[in-house]
C-alpha cells in the first residue's frame, strides 16, 4: 500500500473481539468509530483496509524489553528491537536499564529515548536503573531521569534484584516524588548462587544447581510489605511461581499497591524442556513446573497478575551455542507474545480479546504512566491500534524474525494469531503482516497541516 495523506478507513474490524465496526484514522487520532467513520469528512480519499475477520486492539505495550543498545549492538539495537516490536503488535516498549553503560543517568536514558524516536517504530520508554551501575549499593539519580526528556517513570535493576531491604525501602519511598514505580526482579541472591534451573524433580535428575521458588517468593513477600509500609507503588517483574501468585493475591486483597507481570514463556513452557540441555530454554527466572504454569494462567485471568511482559532478551548465537552452564539467560519474545498469549489464554477460554487488551496494553500503559497508549478505541483517542487475524496459524522460525536474536524457545511450534497491521500514532508501521515504514514526526506534522 502506498503512502497517503495519513488517513485510513478500517472497515468491519471486530473491536476488542466484539461486533464489527469501522474505524477512521486521521491526523494520528481515531477520527470516528462505527457508522460515523465512513460518513466523516476525512473518509474521502482515505486508504481503505478491509478488516472483516480481524480483531482491532489497542497497540500492545511491553513493560519489559531488552533492546541491548547502548553496548551490545551485536545482540540487538533499538532499530532492530523496535522493528520486532512493531511486527509483534507493540506500539510502546519499556527498554530495560541493563545496557552498557547502564541506564542510570539522565544522559543514557535520553540517548535510548532519542534512538527510539529516530527509529520511529514504537514509543521507546527507557527504564532507569534503581542503583548506580545496577550494583545494588547506591541509588541512581532517579529524579534526574524522571525530569529528563525521557520522562522515566519505571525504575528497575532487572537482571539483578534490589536485595538490600533498606535500599529497596528508600527506592520505593523516593519514587513517590514523581509518581514512579520500582519494578523488582525478585531473586534472593544467596539462595540462587550458581543456580541454573528450577529446583525440583528435574534439576535433581539433571544435576543442575537448583533455583528454588522460595528465592523469588521471599523477596516478593518482603517487598509487598515494604510497599505497604511506605505507601508506594511496586511492580513485580516476570512472576514465575504459584507461590508468588498467592502472595500477590494476598497483597492485593490487603489493598497494597502492587502490580505484577508474567512472560509469555512462563505461560507455556516448563522445566521438562531443560532435559535437552539446550540453552535456548535457559532463562531468568527459570522455566518452572506445570503447576506453576497453570497458577500463572489463573492469576493472569483473575487479575492478580496485571500484565504480560515479554522480557525479550536477544543474545548472539555464541552465547547459546555452548554448555548449559556457560550460556546466557534469556529468550526473545516480541514477535511471539501475541500468539503465545492467544494460545495459552484465549484458546483455552480463560480470557477474551477484551481481557487481552487489558493485560497487553491498558494495564501496561498505566503501570509505565504512558498516557497516550492503552486507550479505548474511541473517537478522539490516539490511533495506536493493531489488527490481528486470530484464525491465522504459523510456525515459529527464528531465522525469519526482525530481532537479531535467534534464541526463541518457540522455534518449530505452530501458534495461532497474526498481526496484520500496527498503527503507531496513526501511522501504519506494519501492513499486510509486513514492516511498512516508521513513523516520522515531520511527516505526521506535514500530514496534519494538509
Amino acid at each position: 500500500m502506498a503512502e497517503n495523506n495519513g488517513t485510513y478507513l478500517i472497515r468491519g474490524a471486530s473491536i476488542l473481539g466484539a461486533g464489527a465496526e469501522d474505524l477512521l484514522i486521521s491526523n494520528g487520532v481515531i477520527a470516528a468509530r462505527g457508522a460515523a467513520a465512513a460518513a466523516h469528512k476525512d473518509a474521502h480519499g482515505a486508504t481503505v483496509i478491509e478488516a472483516a475477520g480481524l480483531v482491532a486492539l489497542p497497540g500492545m505495550v511491553d513493560v519489559h524489553t531488552h533492546l541491548r543498545e547502548p553496548g551490545r549492538e551485536d545482540a540487538e539495537t533499538v532499530e532492530t528491537g523496535t522493528r520486532a516490536a512493531a511486527l509483534g503488535g507493540f506500539t510502546a516498549v519499556h527498554a530495560m536499564a541493563n545496557s552498557n553503560p547502564v541506564a542510570d543517568t539522565a544522559g543514557v536514558v535520553e540517548q535510548v529515548h532519542s534512538l527510539g524516536r529516530a527509529a520511529g517504530w514504537v514509543d521507546v520508554r527507557p527504564v532507569g536503573a534503581v542503583t548506580v551501575g545496577l550494583a545494588g549499593e547506591q541509588l541512581a539519580e532517579l529524579g534526574a531521569m524522571a525530569d529528563s526528556r525521557a520522562q522515566v517513570r519505571m525504575f528497575s535493576d532487572d537482571g539483578l534484584c534490589v536485595h538490600d531491604p533498606v535500599l529497596m525501602r528508600r527506592a520505593l519511598e523516593y519514587v513517590k516524588a514523581f509518581d514512579g514505580v520500582v519494578a523488582q526482579h525478585a531473586q534472593e541472591p544467596r539462595l540462587t548462587a550458581g543456580a541454573q534451573m528450577n529446583e525440583g524433580a528435574v534439576s535433581a535428575v539433571l544435576g543442575l544447581t537448583g533455583w528454588p521458588a522460595v528465592a523469588e517468593e521471599s523477596i516478593i513477600a518482603r517487598d509487598v510489605l515494604l510497599a505497604q509500609h511506605v505507601n508506594s507503588r511496586l511492580h513485580v517483574c516476570h512472576v514465575s511461581t504459584a507461590g508468588s501468585v498467592e502472595i500477590i493475591r494476598w497483597a492485593k486483597e490487603r489493598g497494597i499497591n502492587v502490580t505484577a507481570e508474567v512472560t509469555p514463556h512462563h505461560l507455556l513452557l516448563t522445566d521438562d524442556l531443560v532435559r535437552s540441555y539446550n540453552p535456548v530454554y535457559k532463562v531468568n527466572p527459570p522455566l518452572r513446573t506445570d503447576a506453576d504454569v497453570q497458577a500463572l494462567r489463573a492469576g493472569l485471568a483473575d487479575g492478580t497478575i496485571d500484565v504480560v511482559g515479554t522480557d525479550h532478551a536477544p543474545h548472539p548465537s555464541e552465547h547459546k551455542e555452548c554448555e548449559w552452564a556457560q550460556a546466557a539467560m534469556g529468550m526473545t519474545g516480541l514477535e511471539t507474545a501475541l500468539s503465545v498469549v492467544q494460545h495459552t489464554m484465549i484458546e483455552t477460554g480463560l480470557m477474551t480479546w477484551a481481557d487481552f487488551s487489558r493485560v497487553t496494553s491498558t494495564a501496561a500503559a498505566q503501570i509505565g504512566r504512558v498516557t497516550d497508549q492503552g486507550r479505548p478505541l474511541d473517537a478522539g483517542e490516539p490511533a495506536n491500534i493493531i489488527l490481528v487475524d486470530p484464525a491465522a496459524r504459523w510456525t515459529v522460525d527464528p531465522a525469519k524474525m526482525a530481532t537479531m536474536g535467534r534464541n526463541s524457545p518457540f522455534a518449530g511450534l505452530e501458534l495461532p494469531g497474526q498481526v496484520v497491521a500496527t498503527f503507531y500514532k496513526g501511522h501504519p508501521t506494519v501492513l499486510d503482516g509486513k514492516l511498512n515504514t516508521p513513523y516520522r514526526e515531520s511527516a505526521a506534522a506535514a500530514a496534519g497541516a494538509s
Binding site: G207, T209, H319
Partner: protein
C-alpha cells in the same frame, strides 16, 4: 546405541550387553598380550575439561588394548583455557577425524550438547559431566557387584542382573554424578538402593527417585545390606554449611571402624565396601575399611578398564559413520567451576 551419555536412558538389554562384553574384555586383560585388534585405525579422543588422571588413564588403557589411536586433549594448557568454545573444540576434533570422543566436563549436560548438535559426528562417551552422570563408573560398579552377587549365588555372571541385591550409597548425593548414574543403573538391573546422607546433601526432588532415602547409616546397616558404596566428600563442601564439621560428618555418615565391626556383629559376612576413588581416608571411609577384604576399591579400578573397553567396542565396531559436520564460527569464554575428581 550411538552414544553413552547416561544410565537413566540405558535399557536393561544394553546394560547387560555392556556388562557381558566387559567380561570378555576382562579375559583379554588376563592374557600375556593384553591387546585386541578390534579398533585398529580408529581414533579415540579423551577430551578432558576437568582433571581426572584416574578416569583418563582408564579410558586410555581401554582404547589402547583395542588397538585404537588415542589422543589426549586436556583443557588446561590448551586453546580451551584461552577461551575456545566447546563448539570450536568439537569441530576441530571432527576435522581431525575423531571416531569417538570421551568427554569429561565440569558442566552438567556438556556430553549431551556434543551428541545433540551437528558440531561433531563422533560417538560421544560421557566420562563424567558436572553433577549429572558418570555412566561408565556406574557400569564398572555394577560389573563389580554382579561378579560378587553371582559368585554368592554360585552362578555365572554372564547374562545376570542384580535382582534382590541391597545396595546402600552413602554421602554427598546432591553433588554426585556417581550416585545418580548408580541409582538409575541399579534400578534397571533390579537392585534395591538406599541413599544414606545428611538431608543437606540430598537433592530436592529425590523423593521421585526409584530408591529409599535414609538419614541414618547405622539403621541402614542394621536392616541388612549387600554392598555399601561410600561417596567422596568434596573439599569445597566443607565450609559451605552442608554439615557442621568433618568430624561430625565422619561420625554420622562415614564408614568408620565401628561400622566395619558392626557388619561382622550383624552377621553380614558377604557385604562388600565400595568407593569410586579417590578416597578421603579418615573422612568418609576409615583406612581399616578401605583396606579390609570387604573392600572392592582396586577391583573397581581393574574392572573400569574392562567396562570402558566394552563401551568403546560396542559403540565403534562395525558402525558406519557419517561425514563430519561443517565448521562454523563461534567463541565464548571458558570458565571453570566446581570439580569432582572421581
Amino acid at each position: 546405541m550411538k552414544h553413552l551419555l547416561s544410565t537413566e536412558d540405558l535399557s536393561l538389554s544394553n546394560a547387560i550387553r555392556i556388562l557381558d562384553t566387559a567380561e570378555e574384555m576382562a579375559a583379554v586383560g588376563d592374557r600375556e598380550v593384553k591387546k585386541l585388534p578390534a579398533l585398529r585405525g580408529r581414533t579415540v579422543v579423551n577430551l578432558f575439561f576437568e582433571d581426572s588422571t584416574r578416569t583418563r588413564i582408564s579410558f586410555e588403557a581401554a582404547a589402547k588394548r583395542l588397538s585404537a589411536d588415542v589422543i589426549n586433549f586436556a583443557a588446561k594448557g590448551s586453546s580451551v583455557s584461552k577461551g575456545e568454545s566447546l563448539k570450536d573444540t568439537a569441530q576441530t576434533l571432527a576435522a581431525m577425524g575423531a571416531d569417538a570422543v570421551v568427554i569429561r566436563h565440569w558442566a552438567s549436560g556438556a556430553p549431551h550438547r556434543l551428541a545433540a548438535t551437528d558440531w561433531i559426528d563422533a560417538a560421544v562417551i560421557n566420562a563424567g559431566d558436572g553433577t549429572h552422570e558418570h555412566p561408565t563408573q556406574a557400569l564398572l560398579d555394577a560389573f563389580t557387584m554382579r561378579r560378587h552377587w553371582s559368585k554368592l549365588a554360585g552362578s555365572a555372571s554372564i547374562g545376570a542382573d542384580l535382582k534382590g541385591m541391597r545396595v546402600a550409597i552413602a554421602g554427598d548425593v546432591l553433588h554426585s554424578r556417581v550416585a545418580r548414574s548408580n541409582v538409575w543403573l541399579l534400578r534397571t538391573l533390579g537392585a534395591e538402593v538406599t541413599l544414606v546422607a545428611p538431608p543437606t546433601l540430598l537433592p530436592i526432588g529425590v523423593e521421585h527417585w526409584p530408591c529409599k532415602v535414609s538419614y541414618n547409616m547405622d539403621d541402614t546397616l542394621a536392616h541388612g545390606v549387600d554392598a555399601v558404596m561410600m561417596l567422596r566428600v568434596q573439599g569445597e563442601r566443607m565450609n559451605a554449611s552442608f554439615f557442621p564439621s568433618t568430624r561430625e560428618y565422619s561420625r554420622r555418615w562415614g564408614f568408620d571402624d565401628n561400622r566395619l565391626r558392626a557388619l561382622d556383629s550383624l552377621g553380614l559376612k558377604d557385604t562388600i565396601i565400595m568407593h569410586p576413588g579417590p578416597m578421603n581416608r579418615g573422612l568418609e571411609i576409615s583406612s581399616a575399611a578401605a583396606d579390609s577384604p570387604r573392600s572392592t576399591v582396586l577391583a573397581q579400578v581393574r574392572n573400569g578398564v574392562s567396562v570402558r573397553m566394552a563401551t568403546l567396542y560396542l559403540l565403534l565396531s562395525g558402525e558406519t559413520r557419517e561425514p563430519a559436520a561443517t565448521p562454523g564460527t563461534a567463541a565464548s569464554n571458558a570458565a571453570h567451576s566446581t570439580k569432582e575428581s572421581n
